[in-house]
Symmetry: C2
Subunit: 450 residues, 2 copies
């Protein structure tokens, strides 16, 4: 049971009595916790709670509400009452929200924002999804390189309320051309009359607004930054991407990779936030593709009619075992390599090294399974030693095949400029299935029949 469900009746009666009581009650809570309470209420009560707060506090809370609920809540508030709250939101969160609203609602809201905020919002919503521009925030602290530290600290003090981060202050010349960065830590340690242009670091990591947000996440993670400045081609400072945005991006990207690896098109919303038919649309295309791929297993078996009939179908008993062993070792390799590529442990230049290693790995693992498989077939009622030999040899072959195909397919896809995660492990398994069947019956034909 959510805490909010217990609190709601009390909040409702407090609101009727005096909204100031609710404002005070919420003052000491973290915005995220207030948002949880509001999400638990119906939309009318949620509206009254939001209106009881100061607009800037309401905006902090509103940012923590689930996107789909934000949209419904704006309908309930109406644009007149929603605008003052939206006006106070952080620019990146606001841009995300505006992109979700019906265009007519978004326009009505934009018309009611401060002109400067509205212009800002229009600029941000123009960037495509998943780009740096779509997650960056434009509230940045900038100072001129000729200012002294005392002036810079005064500027930080004046802008602290607004800025997305005060961890770094960016030094610019002319019209926002980025030339340096100084951290608040360095500012605090420096004497008041030093010039910021002398203190600043000039070796700044930056990123363009059209780069993939994942790239920003990787730079921030690699250099342990709190924020990464976004600059255009001319070196003009446009905004910053902060580490808290990146935490979300990393989680999203990991989810996307996992889904792709299981042959599911990435979802845009949460499990319960995605409706039934959207799910069917995300899952069925790949299932159908894999199914069509597996249709070839029938043709593969058909090719070996006489072998399949050997001793009243004796060999069929081991078919699923052999096929799945190739698939399992293939999934292992594919997953290991896809993830290693994603976190940049392995790159395209390592292709040969990966190949050599996975061939040996396949042989080692294949030998192990082959020993167990041979023993099992050997002691199976009514099988002869030759059949056990076929099973053993096939297992080494199939496991090695699975391992190599699983490891190399993601690397080939990356080389072709595609997402390696789409070499989804079931896809590799299907390919290995067909190869495994051909290998099995060929080896059987060679040892048992010819």
């Amino acid at each position: 049971m959510r805490l909010s469900n217990l609190l709601l009746p009390d909040i409702e009666s407090a609101l009727r009595e005096d909204p100031a009581i609710v404002r005070e009650l919420f003052e000491d809570l973290h915005a995220e916790d207030v948002a949880d309470i509001i999400e638990g209420a119906d939309e009318d009560l949620a509206r009254d709670m939001l209106l009881a707060l100061e607009p800037d506090r309401a905006a902090d809370v509103f940012e923590c509400i689930e996107p789909a609920r934000q949209v419904r809540q704006i309908d309930r508030l109406g644009v007149e009452l929603a605008a003052p709250i939206i006006n106070e939101m952080a620019s990146d969160e606001r841009a995300d929200l505006l992109a979700l609203l019906r265009p007519i609602v978004a326009e009505a809201l934009l018309a009611r924002l401060d002109p400067e905020e509205a212009a800002d919002a229009r600029k941000l919503t123009a960037f495509e999804d998943d780009t740096v521009g779509s997650v960056m925030s434009t509230e940045v602290l900038t100072v001129d390189r000729s200012m002294n530290i005392g002036q810079v600290i005064a500027r930080v003090r004046a802008g602290a309320e607004e800025a997305e981060t005060i961890h770094y202050v960016y030094v610019v010349t002319g019209k926002d051309r980025l030339v340096g960065v100084v951290s608040l830590r360095e500012l605090i340690l420096a004497p008041n009359d030093d010039i910021v242009g002398d203190l600043m670091r000039e070796d700044i990591k930056t990123i363009g607004p059209r780069a993939d947000q994942e790239e920003a996440a990787q730079i921030i993670g690699h250099y342990d930054l709190i924020a990464l400045p976004v600059v255009d081609d001319g070196g003009m400072l446009l905004g910053v991407v902060t580490v808290d945005d990146v935490v979300d991006v990393l989680a999203e990207e990991a989810t996307e990779d996992m889904h792709r690896m299981a042959a599911v098109e990435p979802l845009e919303a949460s499990y319960f936030g995605t409706d039934f038919w959207t799910f069917v649309k995300k899952r069925s295309p790949w299932l159908v593709v894999l199914f069509i791929g597996e249709l070839f297993t029938g043709d593969a078996i058909k090719l070996f009619d006489n072998v399949v009939q050997y001793q009243e179908g004796l060999l069929v008993l081991f078919l699923p075992l052999i096929v799945s062993s190739g698939g399992n070792s293939g999934s292992q390799s594919a997953t290991i390599i896809i993830r290693a590529l994603a976190v940049k442990e392995v790159s395209l230049s390592h292709a040969r090294r990966v190949f050599t290693r996975e061939v040996s790995m396949g042989i080692a693992l294949g030998l192990l399974l082959s020993t167990i498989g041979f023993a099992r077939a050997y002691f199976w009622d009514g099988t002869e030693a030759n059949v056990a030999l076929v099973v053993g040899i096939t297992l080494i072959t199939v496991v090695t095949l699975g391992t190599v195909v699983g490891a190399m397919m993601p690397i080939l896809l990356e080389r072709a400029g595609l997402d390696p995660a789409v070499s989804s492990t079931p896809f590799i398994a299907s390919l290995v299935d067909v190869l495994g069947i051909v290998a099995y019956f060929s080896i059987a034909g060679w040892i048992l029949i010819s």
Copy 2:
């Protein structure tokens, strides 16, 4: 080609001439970039570069070097020369390193650190891997609640060099009992003679040192924090976990989940950092378990001897197709649910809702594949309509089974207190394989033979 390879000969000759040149050259570079250069050099040259730097700068750089390389580099430096650098490292990074060293080397280093740093390091290395204690840092800014803002800012200034983060200042009473927190942003905005005890927020998110690091990552992500204080059962402040540690933790946890889902025991190091036999040990136990599971497919087929012989093994042609369709839809559901559990979109209380939804999903997807499968079997040379009917009915059954088993297994494991990711998708596939074979031949026996 790495930049470092081009620079190295120049650096080498500069070092011979005057180490100060190298110190200056490295001054303007990000520590992470200097570390990249050092990682590209052999260990003797790397040693000389590290020794050319001031110990605290060398420590910053050393923190960015890959763990396995850190260990080798310490051997090359020797404990006498390594100790001053290790002494300046951040407490969390140092504890990680000490845990990797041979005990005799670690002890020799500890004996040469400042007594306070050594005591600190001993405390941190005592926490188990993957706990909050093992990733926290002990360099925290604390102030007494009776101090005024001017005094607090002076304290921040004095401690900024050392502290892991200056984003938050923690307010304590007595011997480090945590009572509140104030952000640097709030400090900068407050008048100098206000008392920090009045300004601080008392609703503080905290975590215990023995909690899972993933929990810390989730709290930091959920509340968009820069740092999370770690307190013991008595409310005493022990340290902080910072968001940059969390970025690494989240990536690690996602990697672990992906590996488990593909039936690979999580690796402790990177792909090339893990040696061949370690890899075999991480992969083979699960492969063997899955293999033993798949051995039952033979028994399952054996049960239906007369059906397998039907029309000279006609039904065998569709066996891999049917079995893999169940496996693929099972992997999809398993992956979706495992990830949804990991990011807390789905919880145990949703079991019934997930079940209902996945049953319908399985039927919808099954109908789709069944239509294609029926058509293919119907038009296959030498099959009769009844066989196509068997294939069609089996496909709906098997896809629904796969979907439901795939979705519910992770939930059952979570309920049992196990990691849902170990219901690795190949494991589910093996189970579904056996169920699929039984379903297929039972349905065939019922329609074609009886």
